[in-house]
């Protein structure tokens, strides 16, 4: 990343609707032969020309560096502008930024991924990498909570992953209409069913902060140490390189020191209202 403050032009290759208000865009850099290498958990600053810039987690496969995928919920000025984007349009991309998920550290361990809502997007690159190197890891569990069956991301992939014998995948929704045969309840209820081995499990959590708080409590109840829990934080990131201070979280800058943190590093400030 030679010039972190200069957006590179990317062309939109594909726009895919995931749910009612969530969509994915696949882009390709217009310049450079090297593609766009990144590590799972990193994010980019995506620039819609004339509108503004927004931090977006990378949700694609880290092994596929020729193109770049982001999954987006249209909730603000920039993300709503992205909703109107079409194949062939141009956007600017700065990145990748931030600390990745600890892929080296988790090798040899059981892995428990707990995701909620659009929080499945930042952990999807982890899942791709785990599956690409399946033999390096012990048991892998993916637990996912969504608002309703219609709000579940990557439905086809979830089905495919559920069909594998070397993965434990369980999903739940907050409520459902009659006819839904899956779980209804909160994602923390799935943790004990996954029966994590507390001595050998590293957990990765991604979702709304309150969901992560309850998930940490449940993981602790299952005996998992704070040093075995990783989570990804979200704040108002602007410069993405730790200069502007917009994303300061206690003594940490989410953009530079995070967004992925080991829980023991932030436990004293995590969940504090003032933060």
């Amino acid at each position: 990343m030679p010039q972190p403050m200069v957006p590179l032009p990317h062309r939109i290759l594909k726009v895919r609707r995931e749910t009612g208000d969530v969509f994915s865009i696949e882009t390709q850099p217009e310049t450079g032969e090297s593609g766009f290498p990144f590590s799972p958990g990193q994010f980019n600053m995506v620039y819609v020309f004339g509108v503004g810039e927004v931090p977006l987690s990378i949700s694609g496969d880290p092994a596929q560096t020729k193109t770049l995928t982001h999954t987006i919920r249209g909730v603000g000025w920039v993300t709503r502008a992205l909703q109107g984007i079409k194949k062939g349009d141009m956007i600017g991309v700065r990145g990748p930024f931030g600390t990745p998920w600890p892929m080296q550290e988790i090798a040899g361990n059981d892995v428990l991924i707990v995701a909620g809502g659009v929080g499945l997007a930042p952990v999807r690159p982890v899942i791709y990498q785990l599956l690409a190197e399946r033999e390096k890891y012990g048991n892998i569990s993916i637990l996912y909570g969504a608002r309703s069956p219609d709000d579940m991301l990557y439905g086809k992939e979830l089905e495919k992953w559920r069909g594998r014998f070397d993965l434990h995948v369980d999903v739940t929704v907050d409520s459902a209409k009659r006819g839904w045969m899956g779980n209804v309840g909160v994602v923390t209820q799935l943790i004990s069913k996954a029966m994590p081995d507390p001595d050998n499990t590293l957990a990765m959590i991604c979702g709304p902060e309150i969901m992560m708080r309850f998930t940490v409590m449940e993981l602790q109840r299952q005996g998992i140490e704070d040093t075995g829990i990783y989570l990804t934080m979200e704040r108002n990131m602007k410069c993405a390189v730790g200069f502007c201070g917009h994303c300061q979280f206690g003594s940490e800058f989410i953009c530079k020191d995070g967004p992925v943190f080991r829980y023991d590093r932030i436990r004293n400030i995590f969940g504090k209202r003032e933060m």
Binding site: V75, G117, A176, V184, I210
Partner: protein, 153 residues
């Protein structure tokens, strides 16, 4: 095949319950089986039992006026559900439907209420166990109410 006594002794809900109380519970317990789609009970029905699920999944549903029924919770193996038998007027607050084949132990609440009236120690033991289930469900319901995955959170 395991006896009712063994099943109750081994169930986490009755962990460390004195053997004399297990004997009492056995007197109120029976094996039940529901096919997928069967209704276990309807909202407003007399709540005279609770269930320990041994196999399968049950959906708890509410039907808001003029709207389709919504599944608000699901319960499955090793879980206990139904506490309306403890609280007057002993009516169910939800519909319960088997989503799969369900094998369960049904405990006759009417019979148990009488035993609890006669032996408050037993009543307290059951109260402690049910209260922790109720608290857990209340916490989950609060999280669901927060709509944490909604666009505005």
């Amino acid at each position: 095949m395991k006896s009712l006594k063994t099943i109750l002794e081994e169930h986490p809900f009755f962990k460390e319950l004195e053997p004399k109380y297990i004997e009492l519970l056995v007197g109120c317990a029976s094996n039940v089986r529901f096919e997928a789609g069967d209704i276990l009970y309807h909202e407003g029905d007399q709540a005279d039992s609770f269930f320990l699920i041994r196999q399968g999944k049950v959906a708890l549903e509410m039907a808001p006026p003029n709207k389709e029924p919504m599944i608000i919770d699901t319960v499955e193996e090793d879980l206990v559900f139904g506490w309306s038998w403890m609280v007057p007027p002993y009516k169910w607050h939800f519909d319960a439907q088997a989503l799969t084949l369900v094998r369960a132990i049904a405990i006759d609440g009417k019979c148990l209420r009488q035993k609890c009236e006669n032996d408050h120690e037993l009543g307290y033991e059951l109260f402690k166990r049910f209260f922790s289930v109720v608290t857990e469900r209340l916490q989950h319901t609060r999280m669901q109410l927060l709509d944490v995955y909604g666009a505005q959170t």
